[in-house]
Point group: C2
């Protein structure tokens, strides 16, 4: 059997001090004398000591880790947000635990158990579509301060939230198309019930009316996150009595599926119709035609969320009620939009 790794005891023995002193040297060096400090440091080196986090966690009543809850692990949309969260957490010596809503549910676990069983100090939820029962459990929990939503949120529940400027993004989309000369602009919405999609749709409608543009009912096409929804939307567009000259899709995914289906039917983008998306996922740039989109800084969303959560965890009483952070979006113009033909 390999040698057991060494403990504080071992270091203390080698350095000729108490475990208390070793512990202090490690966590609060300037409270011990310099000579002690060097002696301990050497002992740490010779023993190859690594702190046992399970022990520290038990003693300090902190897990030093945060759970990130995704709606779906297989969805690549979240990868950059994770990168942002992880950066911020690792700066602060925290680990990142990941789970998906579906899996937590399927495995019969309760989401709150992560907090209750000392696995995580807090959680960042990237899923606004949580079951209402789950949401109310979260609201009634002892641990409300340790929960934060990012990207999506739950209408009515007031957890701190980090999100992008969805309204502003939708407005900029409309303005971009308008400035190209489009006057007949359609919108493919996201899934019914998704906060993001509602917000974007409402802002779309508002901006259209602000510009004094006509909005025929058939120009609002109901979609969802699926590829087939994008295809169906394309068929709906093709079948319109009065086709719009531009289409703003609630997500890039939707826009790409929309364009793909259109191209199968012999329509060209942007020659026959301008199409744009929302999110600016990695792939938008590689798509043919390269997709005009509204960029969300997903890295920044992640960092901000982690930062905010850490603040609340580490000083829960500091009144700091900045329960919402809004991350700006920006228009990225590429090849899928042009002046109407």
């Amino acid at each position: 059997m390999a040698p057991k790794s060494s403990t504080l005891q071992d270091v203390a023995r080698v350095a000729g001090v108490s475990t208390a002193t070793v512990s202090r040297t490690l966590s609060n060096p300037n409270v011990v004398s310099e000579s002690t400090r060097t002696r301990v440091s050497e002992a740490v080196k010779t023993t190859g000591y690594r702190i046992n986090r399970a022990a520290r966690n038990l003693r300090t009543q902190r897990a030093h880790s945060v759970l990130v809850l995704l709606p779906d692990l297989a969805n690549p949309f979240f990868s950059e947000i994770l990168e942002g969260i992880s950066r911020e957490l690792s700066h602060r010596g925290y680990s990142m635990l990941i789970a998906s809503t579906k899996q937590v549910h399927d495995s019969g676990e309760r989401l709150l158990d992560y907090l209750d069983d000392a696995r995580a100090d807090g959680m960042i939820i990237l899923d606004g579509g949580l079951d209402p029962d789950v949401v109310s459990m979260l609201e009634n929990a002892r641990q409300t301060k340790r929960i934060l939503f990012a990207c999506e949120w739950v209408e009515g529940a007031d957890f701190p939230t980090v999100r992008c400027e969805n309204r502003q993004g939708a407005r900029e989309a409309v303005n971009h198309l308008y400035s190209l000369g489009h006057r007949k602009i359609a919108h493919v919405t996201g899934p019914e019930g998704n906060v993001l999609m509602h917000t974007r749709k409402d802002a779309f409608v508002a901006q259209i009316s602000e510009l004094g543009l006509e909005l025929k009912p058939e120009w609002i096409i109901a979609g969802d996150f699926s590829i087939s929804a994008g295809c169906a939307a394309a068929q709906a567009w093709i079948a319109m009595e009065d086709r719009s000259t531009a289409v703003f899709c609630a997500s890039d995914q939707l826009a790409m599926a929309f364009i793909a289906e259109l191209s199968r039917h012999g329509f060209r983008v942007p020659e026959d119709v301008s199409v744009m998306g929302f999110d600016d996922i990695d792939f938008a740039e590689q798509f043919i035609p390269a997709l005009t989109s509204i960029r969300q800084d997903r890295l920044l969303i992640g960092e901000t969320a982690a930062n905010m959560l850490m603040g609340r965890i580490e000083s829960p009483n500091t009144g700091g009620d900045e329960p919402i952070a809004i991350i700006p979006v920006s228009l990225v113009v590429r090849e899928s939009t042009a002046a109407p033909g």
Copy 2:
């Protein structure tokens, strides 16, 4: 302050038994009498008891969690693998910790600390491009049995590995193009030094020669994972003295960038040239033209890796030396390949 959550002690008090009995009831129910069992269960319910994992972990010397190391968190290629790993882990009551190679490095942590400081019981490494120093640290660690590579691996180091049939995939790619009638087939390689890419390239060359096809030097185009590499490869193809009629790209990403650049120069796929990729990422289907590819079952890779690692962690002595699992691949024919024009 919210009430502290209850402990084993509380449950024991309420049930009128010792903490030992409560513990047994929870972890090994059939060793206690039925009446005790019901009493304890009720006490658990009334107290709302949740086990404290930090305490359990300290006592059992298990973290009940596994670290998954990605080369890059922002790369969506891995999401489905994570889903597979996470499924298997949560079945077994383990949590999934995530970190990226770059971040571990930047934060000055050592990879082995995750094992040494009791944060994780094992790790699944999805990065074959680890620094050789790091690899040799891993090899010399006490914890070799707790480390496993998936998807990628390190040539020369013999850690257990889960990978897909890269050779077979490349051969099927060649055969597919051959059977369509192509006799002049080029290959865009991945980054120099990546095991996956080498394996695929070698198999490509082998199969070409097995079929007795000519292979001009200019038909091997050096690429990497970047989008710009795909574009450069397209320019190389355009500039060829004797253009191949088909191109097998070492990844889907590469294939899409290749096609995108080609289309900017007025070439059409598959009319002017057939192009296929490798991986079958989610996006392959939505791309225009929908991409012919070699499908890796990333879910299965993830599940298999987790499964194998759990086996090694939970019974380290059971000789079980199946240090390598190969996951089959399959050809997915879509629109980007056709008979030569």
